[in-house]
Amino acid sequence: MSNTPVGAKRPFRLGIDTGGTFTDLVMMDEASGEVTLVKIASTPQDPSLASLQVLHRCLQEQQAAADDCIHLVHGTTVATNTVIEGKGAKTALLITEGFRDVLEIGRQIRPRLYDVFCDKPLPLIPRRRCFEIPERLDSQGEVLKSLDEEQVGNVAQLLQDQDIESIVVCLLHAYANPAHERRVARLVAQHLPDVPITLSSDLCSEMREYYRCSTAVVNALLVPVVGRYVGRLEESLQAANVPDVLHLMTSSGGIISSTIARERPVHLVESGPAAGVISAAHLGGLAGYTQVISFDMGGTTAKLGLVENETPRIAQHFEVGRQASIADQASGYPVRTPVVDLVEIGAGGGSIAWVDDGGALRVGPRSAGAAPGPACYGNGQLAPTVTDANLVLGRINPDNFLGGEKHLEAGLAAEAVQTLADEFDMSLLEAAHGIIEIANTNMTEAARSVSVQRGFDPREFTLVAFGGAGPLHAAAIARELQIPRILITPHPGVASALGLLVGDIKHDFVQSCLRPTQEIDTGEVETILEQFQQAGAALLASEHVAETEREYLPLVDMRFQGQSHELTIPMPTCDRQNRESWISHLHATFCQEHQRVYGFSDQREQSEMVNVRLTAVGHIRRPSPPALIDTGPDAFKAVTTRRDVYFTETGGAIECRIFDRELLSAGNRISGPAIIEEYDATTVIPPDFRALVDPKGNLLLEPSMNVTR
């Protein structure tokens, strides 16, 4: 890059990912596709500070001009943290008369069965700020009781005196007819013109009042907070001379403009984990693998997702702000928005190994995190963790952790693991190996649940491993599930941030429309989709997406009559004008999916349509790093040293070659056992695996028998 003439335009794209510990930046040169990474410590008191710091550092290091930035995507935990910490805006709820407590009653269940002190979560809006509006619709959207406009005015006046920062309106059956909600909004706005109003029918036009209401309430709480945050960030970017190109990543791995993010911040709550899966989908696709299981393992948790045809699987709901343990159902607040379908478990480098009162060895979910961190960090945390076990087994190099920036105390790790070994009368190595094997089992079960449990055969997939700890554990998971291939991305520690640069612009629309399949009025479906498409087109236009880059994907939620749980399937592409054939196609597609997911389905059963969905996509140019030159299989030049590493397969420690990933080049082949080290990750190649460096710089691991074939 240094040979670019001074003053010439050198357009680039930026992704900035703010996490709890680090803020990562990815820069892609628009012309060459070359990618640069910068990592700095986060600034939790004001996360936008680190964003600016990392930006300045990058511009300086790359001698780039801020005004050459043509696209900036930000991933942030501001939305999630606001909900978890209960720091949302002072919000009022307006709800149908007789149903004031829908939010507080919630699902009426307890998160933990045998803990008489563990309660359902407190309502996001206290009862005193929930107001009843006289009106009522029936399930078809017909008016049973007309809207009492005078009463709406009275409530609005009450709100004026209470310094309300945000308002949410959720009326029964508003998904079937939004007229009352809209009228309420207009009336309230006359009194409080400056207070943002979220309408449930506008945000999530789906039946099931508590879920819709909760989604709208989370949004309303966030509007002022995210608005301020994004505003601050925009001001700083402007001051830094960055053009007005800020986008944010959503829970479904799409991106939206900062303007839309301010109106619909509920879409941001799961943006962090989504970016990783998007990245895995992209990197897998670039390497020619369209079916991918994404495996992101960090310090505290491991997240597994599934990519089918280069597209991450999407779920339609999740829970934000769950309490401590990941397994506790109903301890958080439900949000009905599309979200990348992930299984997250408490298994990370910091996960603590312990002995339960029955005498069994357990790993996680409690974690030492990054601070105080594993025993080997030397911060006084003495319990053995997964990282300590990896260190004892020789898999991690104590002098090359984060490129040597952090020295690990191998002695402390051994001491910690030894306490466990003593309890079980095992050797130090056996105990360390046990910790790793149990952590691997937990992650294997999670990988099984995103694949097998959802009707996919892992043998048809590629495991894309990243995160600081992913490449250490990938081979064990692949072996257990017979996944034939592992792809280790370049720079695994920041692969997640790369996802910011490869996400498409996405807008999701939904409308409940409960009809027996046989009675579907295709004209009605057509009308809904047209409305969605128009709205989508308008949003995409506002984000400067060229018409040729737009795509509209109609989806439909279906179930058998009598069921109360839907499956989302793509709408049949055949002509809707031919109603009969379209309907039989729809029914057949649904039956097929039901068979795949649940293992049974009966074509003779009646099905019904529940929701019509549309995703409007604006395609983004994705980075495609230039192919590396093949230098042949010999990787000898990349060997830095040798050390003893323990593997069960070899029945003990065995001397292994240690490679520096930076020194490897395309075409290099390495047979296990071997260790590949780089700045922010370590890859383990067990004795029964072999690795190949592909032209994109990925490491491809396969069981030895496959490679030689």
Binding site: G98, F99, R100, D101, V102, E104, I105, R107, Q108, I109, R110, R112, L113, Y114, D115, V116, F117, D119, K120, P126, R127, R128, D138, S139, L172, H173, Y175, M207, R208, E209, Y211, Q329, D356, D357, G358, G359, A360, L361, F424, G434, E437, I438, T441, N442, E445, R448, S449, Q453, L514, F560, G562, Q563, S564, H565, H594, V597, Y598, G599, F600, D602
Partner: protein, 591 residues
Amino acid sequence: MRKDDPEGTFKEPVHESRPQLGMDPIRFEVMRSAFQSAAEEMAIALRRAAYSTNIKTRADFSCALYDDHLRVVAQAFSQPIHLASMVRMIPAAVREYGPQNLQPGDGLAMNDPHLGAMHLNDVGIIVPLFHKEQCVGYAANVAHHVDIGGLAPGGLCISKDIYQEGVIIPPTKILRDGQIIENVFQLIAANVRSPKQMGGDFRAQVASAMLGGKRVTGLYDRFGNDDIQKFNNELMEYTRRWTKSAISKLPRGEYRAECELDDDGVTDRPIQLAVKISILDDEVHFDLTGSDPQRSSPLNANLTYAYSALSYVVRCMIDPDIPINDGFYSQVHVSAPEGTVVNAKHPAGVMGGNDIAMRLCDLGFKALSPALPEKVPACSKSVICNMGCGGEDPHTGEYYTFMETLAGGYGARFSKDGTDAVQAHIQNTENSAIEETENNYPLRITRYELVPDSEGAGRYRGGLGLRRDWQFPGHQATLTVFSGHRKKGPWGLFGGQPGRPSSYTLNPDSEARDLPSKITLDLAPDDVVSYQTPGGGGYGSPLERDPQNVLEDVLDGKISSQRAREIYGVVVNMASQSVDLDATRQCRLGG
């Protein structure tokens, strides 16, 4: 015996040193999580593919895997009432049918309460698992079906014996070669009001059990029969050791309590329950002697119910991570004289066994309250609060059945208020969405809200009950109220007041006819039935409640300012939204 412990309540822990596993701990943990994940996979499959709201939303089911000795190896469920359903019902069914009569591809159905099942709505499906032509265990699930025949829709009825409660299924072969035997299923379906839903739920149960079978067979291929045998034995021992060590930390002694249920639904005579809990070194015994003889009514429980409830009480007092299998159950013993409402014999009706079980939970906590005051809650709503209805849908002409169980107030605790409107103890069923109900059934819900002032007052207050009103537009429906706690509210502890009793009202805005807590009604079109569920009991004297907490409740409209003054002695200045401290002091001094 310690000097400061003349009654010998405190015990030295049973295990001086850390217990040791009898097999490789790594392999043990790997196998344990593999079996557990197989059971959970069964549960996910059943829940997602089932038809009725009951299974899907309310998650009223349980899945488990057994070894060839019919010991539970792994179990996945959301309703603690199923604690013993799996450990008693499934083995009883297999033994009754004879394991030697089962071939690969076979499956049994069973719901007979007098052979160890719960009420008739809970139907079990059992599939034997074969590995190398040898039976190595069983996969089974139990799910609550929305209707099972009987006197009234939804399986809820004021019955006098089991025959009136619906179709009884002794252990019966329902699957051959992995397929439902159509005429056997038809025989069952012909006796229920919603055969279509039952068919869907049945298929989901079968798919779930077969899936469990497939997973376990895979585990046998992976680990081998010998290692799995070793693991099964070790799992029981491990669980037993852990349970013993946990029980050894509880205060040793004998604890007793008694209580009364309103009535039995057929007569007005209250039902007496009594429990004596003996905490020994490393096991717990429950003796229910003193509980009433069984009734000619639906308010009877068999020992499966009683056992579930009391196992739940034990689990709440010990480490909740202890696995649930025979190793745990071997340390918990429940005895009750035969022919009582807690150990009813054929042909007693058991429709209301859940309500007996629910009350046994609260009774257990009450008995333990002197010994473990910081661990047990005051009485929660302590009734299932059932509503069941059915009729001809005026739009489709088809017969529908619907049922729902409502939340109520949770009991207050040592350091915390009871939660408002939540399920308690053995019951953790989700509510059905109003919008979905109105879309799927010809019902209209006209109110769903908390009931102010229904809490049991206390230093920590009980939770509020809730109100739900149903209307039946344009058709004649049959509705059953099946509940309780209408005469006396849930008790408080240590000076806490009882929660407000429940109430049931026909047409609350016009004739407002008070209904008993157990009744089947034929409704006129457009009638409204209103439920107000009980509040939870309070903990400690209301005069000791932090006035600030009383203020918050008043501002939230949960407690009236009048009640704040009269019961809590707290005077709230509504204009300034603050506590009038002087007036409060006066008020509390004056009593």
